[in-house]
Symmetry: C2
Subunit: 288 residues, 2 copies
């Protein structure tokens, strides 16, 4: 089996590194526009070689689109156009609706599987990749019925080898859920970073005072703008709806802090329910 990683960064690189562990017989090739990343990906042994897109597509059994979502949107139709009959392609993008819509009527649509492995860190590039990134996490497959069953079988088998749990959704639901559970988290963190950087001109102070919870809530503010700007743009309507809800929650909280300690207590008690739900997740991660 020859797997072609298009965009050898955190996600694409980790996908290859994870499979290399269980499948040393697989060959990994890559397509990478950034020459420094391309060289690093070879040096780190993530891929055996980097090829031009057309050559890589011609020889690969499976091509993995792991670029930012705006590039996936642009490349996917071209990749399908050039895909040989035996070839299959998946994307790993964090949005699904625009990407699925883009190729809905493509004659080779069934050779494509839309996937979103829900794993990541605030770091990016091939240096950030590691073999166990996806282990124990969920991958969402969207619009499974539009893909060839053999392609779905192959892709699911590979994600299972990486230790992932498979989930199915339509692309519209996926993008709505992700706006709340992932995209909003990133915005809350970016905005927290901006607010504190704007107020605390003295960096040493931030540095000294940041031990009480700030580091973890602001962690995602380190994430790559090249990855996230296109995600927010593609999922604009859902993200703005989630942001409106979040701003409303903040205003309710502010009002409670100003006028009723009892109400502020009750709001926090309600939010505490997240502990019960997440302790389920933590248990699941440990067991899987």
């Amino acid at each position: 089996m020859r797997i072609n990683i298009i965009g050898i960064g955190l996600l694409g690189g980790s996908f290859a590194m994870g499979l290399r562990k269980t499948r040393p017989e697989f060959e990994f090739i890559g397509v990478e526009a950034n020459h420094i990343h391309a060289q690093k990906a070879v040096d780190l042994g993530i891929v055996d070689k980097v090829l031009p897109l057309d050559e890589a597509l011609a020889v690969a059994d499976l091509s993995v689109l792991a670029t930012p979502v705006n590039i996936i949107e642009r490349l996917l139709p071209e990749v399908l156009d050039k895909l040989p009959a035996h070839g299959k392609v998946i994307d790993l993008g964090s949005t699904k609706q625009i990407i699925c819509d883009k190729v809905r009527k493509h004659p080779k649509r069934s050779q494509f599987v839309a996937a979103h492995p829900m794993a990541g860190t605030e770091n990016s590039g091939p240096d950030a990749a590691f073999a166990t990134l996806m282990k124990g996490k969920t991958v969402v497959i969207c619009e499974k019925e539009s893909s060839d069953p053999q392609a779905v079988y192959l892709v699911e088998s590979l994600f299972r080898e990486l230790g992932m749990v498979i989930d199915y959704m339509n692309a519209v639901d996926h993008d709505l859920h992700l706006a709340y559970v992932s995209h909003l988290s990133h915005i809350t963190s970016f905005a927290l970073g901006l607010t504190v950087l704007g107020k605390e001109k003295d960096e040493k102070r931030i540095f000294e005072l940041a031990s009480t919870g700030f580091s973890s809530t602001v962690r995602l503010a380190k994430s790559s703008p090249a990855m996230w700007a296109p995600i927010f743009a593609q999922n604009k309507a859902n993200v703005c709806q989630a942001l409106d809800g979040y701003i409303e929650s903040l205003q309710i909280f502010k009002d409670a802090i100003q006028h009723s300690e009892e109400h502020s207590y009750q709001l926090m008690e309600k939010a505490n329910d997240i502990r019960r739900i997440l302790s389920g997740i933590e248990k699941k991660s440990v067991n899987s």
Copy 2:
């Protein structure tokens, strides 16, 4: 040396457990209104015994007020009234202005040192305490000049034994900085929890989708309302100012997502600066 922990929870318990490691000769006693916590604190070996407040104050060299800040505000004048001449008292509260103001003119003010060890987790109670909680973290001493130098020397020595870095601030500055760097983080997280719980009625969905960053940004939403409601109430003006700035940042972000992907990119690039500042912090924690 006999140390008296008033409120044997995460912070007071960890203070005792940390010192027990380096100072097995110290005696630790405690005052605890919650009978289950009192029994647990003895069972876990955090304190040797639990006493009524008056008895504990009479025999302790140092009393440590480690209750929620509203209880500190109420108890501190009474503790000072009853403090024997050799006794010293510190508080570990997350707000400082109201607490310092409360005893500014107390005849025994110099026997009190106002301290805020900036360490914590989202968990509470004696079960949550552990010996290394404060290691490598910063403790802020406020209004040092109002405390007896011997009391300051004792308290600083103990915090140094716990591996803490000492910092000084006046109470007004402390509360302003903390509103941005700690209190705001907690509110962003509580509000995120409320928003997602409000929208995602299907808990299984939250559970499945929460791997991409949500868990870390929402972690603080598990924090104790009994601890945080009084902090927000005592630091109301600063916290509301910080919240206004944060809501403004979110609105700027939302506007950028709606109208200009380039602007949204630039905002994230600016927020990324937090990586440089926090990598300094991480280095410091590793080294100390």
